[in-house]
């Protein structure tokens, strides 16, 4: 298995005085035919990384190769083999889906015939045939996103970059997108995808790279990261009078100490057993007559990963500057 995308020590600063260090020595490797997910909060440098690898932006320093080609020295060759679908669907809104695909097909130097055939094929594949002759303006967010993805697949790229492909989609749209992506991956494409959701990385990626403030803070498979974070938790709330008893039950069951939030009457405990722990807890509650108000298994969120990995909560963009200075101490 050879490396298909290699980034070494990428640095990129923005601003007149280079005051924003968007990438601060980022390195990553994606092996051919695998999926790597770049996971990070807002402003962590995901888009910047994708833009550099897709030849849209030159790094201040560092090197990057896609399929063995240097992205800075031979960008045009890189463009021949990549597909890019940016963070916001970038298609011509006034034109129809069909028009857009034909235009991009022609720009990829397909013949008029070839462009039409490919457009038909892609519209079919992304269930957009019925909407083909409608302007993109009338598309839903999910349809727009799918068309955008279709446009990046016109020449069957070897390497595909997807920047937050499901942000802004409803659960169904997200599910559909995941299916489409899984399909692509089966076809052998090398994929780098960015996301803010651990769950998404979990679904799609072979390997996950977590970044914050422009550099890698953790990497591994979804399982290894979750283990690091502590896996699933069982969360429940019960009537006040049952609190102590319920807590005792779940602690015995999971063999670990529960935390409890007195205001919400909420108990939370690590549940490595997952659903079987949940079922067992419910059975025992039933036996002693406790009726939980709410009970659920919670997967670790990106916030939990962050908390576990960095000791601080993922920061918003506005706090970027103070975040920069904090980083030095880590």
């Amino acid at each position: 298995m050879s490396a298909s995308i290699i980034a070494e020590d990428l640095v990129k600063t923005y601003g007149a005085h280079r005051e924003v260090r968007a990438l601060d020595g980022l390195s990553l490797t994606v092996h051919e035919g695998t999926v790597l997910s770049l996971l990070g909060p807002n402003g962590s440098g995901k888009t910047t990384t994708v833009r550099i690898l897709a030849t849209l932006l030159r790094p201040d320093s560092g090197k990057a190769h896609v399929a063995g080609i240097d992205v800075v020295k031979n960008p045009q060759q890189v463009r021949e083999i990549i597909g890019l679908s940016g963070q916001y669907a970038a298609v011509d809104e006034t034109l129809t889906g069909w028009d857009n695909l034909i235009m991009f097909g022609r720009l990829y130097h397909l013949s008029s015939r070839g462009a039409k055939a490919r457009a038909e094929e892609l519209l079919e594949k992304f269930s957009l045939t019925d909407a083909a002759k409608r302007p993109i303006k009338t598309y839903s967010g999910g349809m727009r996103r799918r068309l955008d993805l279709a446009a990046s697949l016109i020449v069957k790229p070897k390497v595909l970059f997807l920047d937050e492909p499901t942000t802004g989609l409803d659960p169904r749209g997200r599910q559909e997108m995941w299916e489409v992506i899984n399909e692509l991956v089966k076809g052998g494409v090398t994929l780098l995808l960015t996301t803010q959701y651990l769950e998404e990385a979990d679904q799609l990626a072979d390997e996950i790279v977590v970044i914050d403030h422009g550099h890698v803070i953790a990497q591994g498979t979804a399982d290894s990261l979750k283990r690091e974070v502590g896996g699933e938790r069982l969360e429940l709330s019960v009537p006040f009078e049952n609190l102590a008893e319920a807590r005792g039950i779940v602690e015995r069951l999971t063999n670990s100490v529960a935390t409890h939030d007195p205001q919400m009457h909420k108990i939370s405990v690590a549940a490595p057993g997952g659903t079987s722990t949940l079922v067992e807890a419910l059975r025992q509650f039933d036996a002693v007559g406790i009726q939980p108000l709410d009970i659920a298994l919670k997967r670790p969120s990106l916030d939990d990963v962050f908390l576990a990995l960095t000791g601080h909560v993922a920061e918003e963009k506005e706090e970027e500057v103070s975040g920069q200075s904090k980083r030095g101490k880590r």
Binding site: T55, A90, D92, T94, T96, L107, P135
Partner: protein, 260 residues
């Protein structure tokens, strides 16, 4: 070049899909013709020649000068929507997108000029020169519009926001077209402004086109200066300069542009 034509075609297709854009971009100059012809025309004194004969070349030049606005707006919009990013990730010639855009705007100018000329004929405009000269006059207008379009490329890619692009361009092109001989003789202006008006590319273009349409080019020329003596040559120099400056700057800008 083939890539550029795909981009041009896309722009023309947009006009088909949203014909309102084309309608409004022709209504505006037509309205100008009517306003100046019937509202201000009566108040502007032009001895020896019908005002509408002088007015039409002025309005033609003003209209093509505003190509800078449509180009800037179109590119700023593409920039905002992320389309430029996508185009830049494709294996196409670096200049294709901007060349395609300027050609598209030039095509639009052809349509607009035809509609305006027809309106002009309806309200009494009668060019008195030969057909060849009239044709040359329109060719001149198109090339001037094309040169201005390249300025629009740089503006559009630099401001990256369609609203800003629009107001920035208007702030600059409006005074430029009015501080000229296009609508009224420059002799009524304060002396320093007369010099500005005389050297203004819009004035040399207007004078040149009037010449080609068979009128005395003098209207507005205040002195025996080079631009008023050789308006056509001066206009050619201006067009050459515009393109020599803005084409390389625009293409370079496109290569390195980043969205906001």
């Amino acid at each position: 070049m083939r890539d550029a034509l795909v981009i041009t075609k896309r722009q023309l297709l947009q006009l088909l899909r949203v014909p309102e854009v084309l309608i409004f971009s022709t209504i505006q100059p037509v309205m100008f013709v009517l306003l100046f012809r019937y509202v201000f025309g009566g108040a502007i004194n032009t001895p020896g020649v019908d005002y509408v004969q002088l007015l039409m070349p002025g309005i033609f030049v003003q209209t093509v000068a505003f190509t800078v606005a449509s180009t800037a707006l179109g590119l700023a919009e593409d920039m905002q929507k992320g389309l430029i990013d996508r185009f830049r990730s494709l294996p196409i010639t670096r200049s294709a997108v901007v060349v395609g855009r300027t050609l598209g705007d030039a095509t639009l100018n052809v349509v607009v000029l035809i509609v305006m000329a027809l309106t002009g004929l309806l309200v009494g405009w009668r060019p008195s020169s030969s057909l060849v000269e009239i044709f040359a006059g329109f060719l001149f207008l198109l090339i001037f519009g094309y040169a201005m379009s390249w300025m629009g490329v740089l503006v559009g890619l630099s401001v990256r926001d369609s609203r800003v692009a629009n107001s920035a361009v208007f702030l600059f092109v409006f005074p430029m077209t009015f501080l000229s001989n296009a609508f009224a003789p420059t002799t009524g202006m304060p002396r320093p402004l007369q010099y500005v008006a005389e050297w203004n590319p819009v004035s040399t273009m207007v004078a040149g086109v009037r010449d080609l349409f068979g009128l005395e080019p003098m209207f507005g020329a205040t002195a025996n200066s080079f631009p008023s003596q050789n308006p056509l040559m001066m206009s050619l120099i201006y067009m050459g300069l515009l393109m020599a400056i803005f084409i390389p700057l625009s293409v370079r800008k496109y290569k390195n542009v980043t969205p906001k």
